[in-house]
Symmetry: C3
Subunit: 137 residues, 3 copies
């Protein structure tokens, strides 16, 4: 058994954009030469989520609307309150992204472990690996 | 170190049903012969969640009620709107499951990695591996 | 490749407390001698969540407030109803923690898989591994 790591760089999308990474995942597995084992999908950002679900515009619009209803923008977030904030101040530079951190923590989909068999991720028929960029540019 | 994959087939339960897979997990680990390492629990469906929590009817009823309050059935879901939909149309055949996709993405529990020691998953005293079938038959 | 398991014991914090486990994670990886592979962070408790996000008081306060709004204390939880409950009764001893189980299941962050390279977890710049203790003492 062996282990390899592949970094997939993506251009930040618009706020609440979805990016299909399934083909990148398949390619990374192929390139690793691993035929049986597991792939770990990991996102190093704090305002994103890695969803494994269907790629369908309507479902994506529905999810965006619901997460926005549950964790609305436009209300007070202590994270964005520069009157009180003392930590990680070089991260802020005007970005009002408190709601994005809360959304990302609620979904808590920073990592996934996906079994690999015969060189392919064992995704279900309708499953795609999707980067949900809560706080885009 | 080695890697094996076991598929556990389950009969789709009723909508919002819970299925205890803990014994299946233990058996799969035993059968694999792996004594120290990790088990990956992975669900290939897009309207399910793998919960690791207590098996108690009340807690399950509470969770069901809450997720239904947060992502209600009976409101508009673009995923179910055949007037607008163009993607994955063979998946639909009348199934109004938009709310299920949103619930599954919000929980985002498609996979879990569970340490294994001495041939046993290192589950806590009250932890069970539970398939929550949001959109049953 | 090899596998080791390290148990990090923590003193239960107050309800809704956050505990930064990033240094413990780094130390466990170093002590394992694994330089390239993956670390699994796993929490054996049913009323906790392992968050990977920024360590900032405001964001933590925001998340706590929001999860409390979505899954409020002080409403009926069947899990806490000793009139109906028949399962796992030795767990209860007066603890009204039904809301905590629901919060933990909604977040569903019992485990994370984190790639390791050059002996370090590949956490993003602002990512910390955080134990969110929903139901503290």
């Amino acid at each position: 058994m062996k282990s390899t790591t592949t970094t997939i760089g993506v251009t930040p999308g618009e706020r609440y954009s979805y990016l299909d990474l399934t083909d990148d995942l398949r390619r990374a597995i192929k390139d690793s030469g691993v035929t049986d084992g597991a792939a770990i999908a990991y996102c190093p950002h704090t305002t994103c989520a890695l969803l494994i679900n269907e790629w369908e515009d309507g479902a994506q619009r529905d999810f965006r609307a619901r997460i926005e209803a549950v964790v609305p923008e436009g209300v007070y977030y202590a994270h964005d309150d520069l009157e009180r904030r003392t930590q990680n101040l070089d991260e802020v530079h005007e970005r009002q992204n408190g709601h994005s951190h809360v959304k990302a923590m609620l979904v808590s989909a920073t990592s996934h472990s996906i079994p690999v068999q015969a060189g392919e991720p064992m995704l279900g028929r309708w499953q795609r690996l999707i980067l949900f960029h809560v706080f885009g540019e």
